[in-house]
Subunit: 291 residues, 2 copies
Amino acid sequence: MKNPLTPKQVARAIGVSESSLKRWCDRGLIPTVRTAGGHRRLPLAGVLRFLRENEHRLERPEILGLPASTGQGEWTLSRAREHLLRGLVAGDETVCRQVIFDLYLAEQSIATICDEVIAEAFREIGDQWDCGNVEIYQERRGCEIASRLLFELQLALPAPAADAPTAIGGTPEGDPYSLSTGMVALALRDLGWRATSLGSMLPFSTLKAAVANGRPKLFWLSVSAIDHREQFLQQYEELFEEFSPQVAIVVGGRALTEDVRQQMRYAAYCDNLRHLSSFATLLHAQTEPIG
Amino acid sequence: MKNPLTPKQVARAIGVSESSLKRWCDRGLIPTVRTAGGHRRLPLAGVLRFLRENEHRLERPEILGLPASTGQGEWTLSRAREHLLRGLVAGDETVCRQVIFDLYLAEQSIATICDEVIAEAFREIGDQWDCGNVEIYQERRGCEIASRLLFELQLALPAPAADAPTAIGGTPEGDPYSLSTGMVALALRDLGWRATSLGSMLPFSTLKAAVANGRPKLFWLSVSAIDHREQFLQQYEELFEEFSPQVAIVVGGRALTEDVRQQMRYAAYCDNLRHLSSFATLLHAQTEPIG
DNA sequence: GACAAAATCGTTCAAATCGTTCATTTTAAT
DNA sequence: ATTAAAATGAACGATTTGAACGATTTTGTC
């Protein structure tokens, strides 16, 4: 788990000579820092980004502190989902990390990883819970693990540009499911946005204040549970009315069934993160037509 | 807080061997003073200057910047708390990271950082919220930031030994404050335990299952809020009765006022993480007397 | 103040890394 | 197929790093 890494470690992990690695560093392909004595040190996040961009395989992942066999196997999304599910239920963070980083290195978009693997795994956990096959603590522990992995992925993403569009969002009061809004933030960051999740259980009054203070280009509301439907709809309408044309208000979440949506106005309703990504890309391109 | 730092502290904090650090001192890269006996002492200001100038991008880029700590003024815990508070309210993760890693550089124990700075900052945020000075979303966003920083700190800790004692814990149903249980897990990991937080809002039924399945040496329950007092006490008593002698059951949290505690049995009640750390150390030493 | 444990001293040494050069292999274009 | 350009891997002496060692200092406790 050492970070930053030495050139020798990385060279052996990737399976190339130290000479090549040094050249890549000097050409700026891998972000490099120097010790006071002039030796190179390579932050893990930069190495992973390089591997991903250049479609390199990891010969010896364990050297980087990653689980053995990360970055060499062929993963179908369904196999990944299976493995992740087992890891989450067992509380095995190592297994989960391997699955996620494998997918990341295989150049899957963050949105795809979240949609097809993480979200699906938790949907399955929910089903298993209904059947009494998994305990609540296993689901909660899985959420903790997933949150960590999302954060680790964020560390591997480049920092957003200073002029990148901003986005904020969260879940409304009565919805404690913070994982979903965390995934939204990460997916938007993957697109280059300066996205910040405000967390979960946020009353509409404070959501209004957040939008008013933050002036984002996009605001998302992830709704996995609704306490009082009428109140929710009314307060949401107020928020939409107040900010709608200036701020793109995007909603999503399994609690927004069709009959609920029919009583809502929104800039976009997104079933999943790929929909959201498409919309965000479109929005950014349209409002910033020249760049 | 001790201002002149020992080489060991600094070496550990910036991730370099003591040998190299000593050489850098002798080469004049880091201003060094000597004790009467010849031991090196490194003023914090000089160390920070060295990090900014020579190690521009080594290890933790977030250490550089240091808006307020660069001055020769004492970087007291209360000043750190102040800065962290402002960063949390403003949602500025960079500032918060600087504060925390400054402290990590200057202090050994994570328990102290959590107790004196993070927990205190959130207590202050709670007060400000009562006065209507901060919005709920600022508190929630602060929690998100703090969670990330705890996770980053954990990444800096060595992995627990294979034979390390295990501990699990969480917050009961009705208590959504997951930050506290996350801090407990981190403090125990700092002591070398294999600690896992199960998260928040856990019904007692599933807590029992978790203890039964995990067989930890220590179980903690962090209680920041109690929904139904009678039910809480009764279910807690059941859990204690079932596992008490084999598993050390530790409780804490601001919801456990004195009158509540008087109706509870526990291996230890901990006001803060330093109490918990003492107890955990004692427990480990007693049950593993030879090693 | 005396004592024991822990930390630090200065030093030495093997391993790793530096920058550089050069021969070989791979890639791309003619 | 031939050739030029580019990338790779291996080698070199000089320097840096991390770990070890016994001797000394600091720290905590009685």
